[in-house]
């Protein structure tokens, strides 16, 4: 029987989790090379592209697909309502 600890350890760790820790500021010692990552946030922004490719490999987000679709629909519906100023018969 795996312990609870093992089940958590076995979870996939995404690139963003890794970057979130290895780019952490509070590290012990600095090197000679000063590498300024202009904006970690900028790196993060571009990661979206990367994450989608990881996704297809890991296929761990598969189950969320349905939710995404209905959320998208709601978003579009709201946009139409906002544009027309009229509420449709569907609500969130």
């Amino acid at each position: 029987m795996p312990s609870v600890k093992e089940t958590i350890q076995d979870k996939e760790v995404g690139l963003i989790d890794v970057l979130d820790v290895i780019l952490d500021k509070g590290v012990a010692i600095k090197g000679d090379l000063v590498i300024s990552i202009a904006g970690v946030d900028l790196v993060y922004l571009d990661l979206r592209v990367l994450i989608s490719s990881v996704e297809t490999l890991v296929q761990s987000y598969e189950e969320n697909n349905k939710e995404i679709t209905s959320e998208k629909l709601d978003e579009e519906r709201r946009a139409i309502e906002n544009a027309t100023g009229k509420a449709g018969k569907w609500r969130d």
Binding site: K5, L19, V27, L33, I35, A38, L50, D74, A87
Partner: protein, 283 residues
């Protein structure tokens, strides 16, 4: 039983730069030697660089191929490279963390040559030894809490009397006015939701922090970064005594179960190399 091949002694080329992964206590190498592994540049392997009781884990880099400009450019523009190298860095640190008491360093900590690194080690030796003591027998764990915006919004709309009443009043307005009024209500609801999230996550954090030697709250990451559909509302890190880890994880599971369909979703990961809690910069 398969034997893990050991990292070979390296002939150090003084012209080469040194990529530094982290430090371990030299004596721990007697019990478990460093396994052979490809370095930051695929043409070089990782190796040990001992300075008395402290051993640096490093690999060599071609000085012309790894300049500040080149690396900066790669980090910012070459995502395949970033992904590959970030995972490599992490992999080595995980390997060290599983075998030794390891002080992990930040991604792309690079020295111009061996001499420069050795000098740094001797200057910082006392602090490094202190840090070994502080992190021995401890693990670093991360917690991220995500929330389903739609679900939480709905809860706030249903449970907040002010918002509920305003929504009732909405029905009597013309469609045009409704549009602006709805915007106002949304803004108010967003505020209430933020407070609600902070309260709920803060409570969870306090509970878990009580089991930790140290705890810290980190910046949350946006959807663009996580690539997830739900939002991050909490990002924190805990330093735990080994003996507390099972209890901590059990508590995480318990809270997770309790959250159920509330719209909040916890994700604990660990043990991580002690990136966050091995800072030598003492307050």
């Amino acid at each position: 039983m398969g034997r893990i091949s050991e990292a070979k002694e390296r002939v150090i080329d003084m012209k080469k730069k040194i990529y530094l992964y982290g430090f371990i206590p030299s004596e721990e190498l007697d019990k478990a030697s460093l396994p052979e592994h490809e370095g930051f540049d695929e043409t070089e392997d990782i190796f040990t660089l001992p300075v008395d009781s402290i051993t640096a884990i490093v690999s060599q880099l071609d000085p012309d191929a790894y300049t500040e400009e080149v690396i900066e450019d790669k980090i910012n523009n070459d995502l395949d490279w970033l992904q590959k190298k970030a995972y490599h860095h992490h992999e080595i640190l995980m390997l060290l963390n599983q075998r030794y008491t390891a002080i992990p360093l930040s991604f792309c900590t690079i020295y111009n040559n061996e001499e420069s690194l050795l000098e740094t080690i001797s200057i910082q030796a006392a602090d490094l030894l202190d840090t070994f003591k502080e992190i021995t027998g401890k693990e670093e764990w991360n917690l991220k809490i995500f929330y389903d915006e739609k679900k939480l919004k709905k809860q706030v709309h249903e449970n907040n009397p002010v918002i509920k009443q305003k929504q009732e009043e909405l029905k009597e307005l013309s469609p045009g006015k409704q549009f602006f009024e709805r915007k106002k209500i949304d803004k108010l609801a967003a505020k209430k939701m933020e407070k609600e999230l902070n309260d709920r996550c803060g409570k969870i954090h306090d509970e878990l922090a009580a089991m930790a030697v140290q705890a810290d709250i980190k910046k949350t990451l946006g959807k663009d970064a996580t690539g997830r559909k739900d939002n991050m509302s909490w990002n924190s890190v805990y330093l735990l005594e080994d003996s507390e880890v099972e209890g901590f994880v059990a508590e995480v599971m318990k809270i997770e179960k309790k959250l159920g369909e509330s719209g909040l979703n916890m994700e604990a990961t660990g043990p991580w190399p002690v990136y966050h809690f091995s800072s030598l910069a003492k307050a």
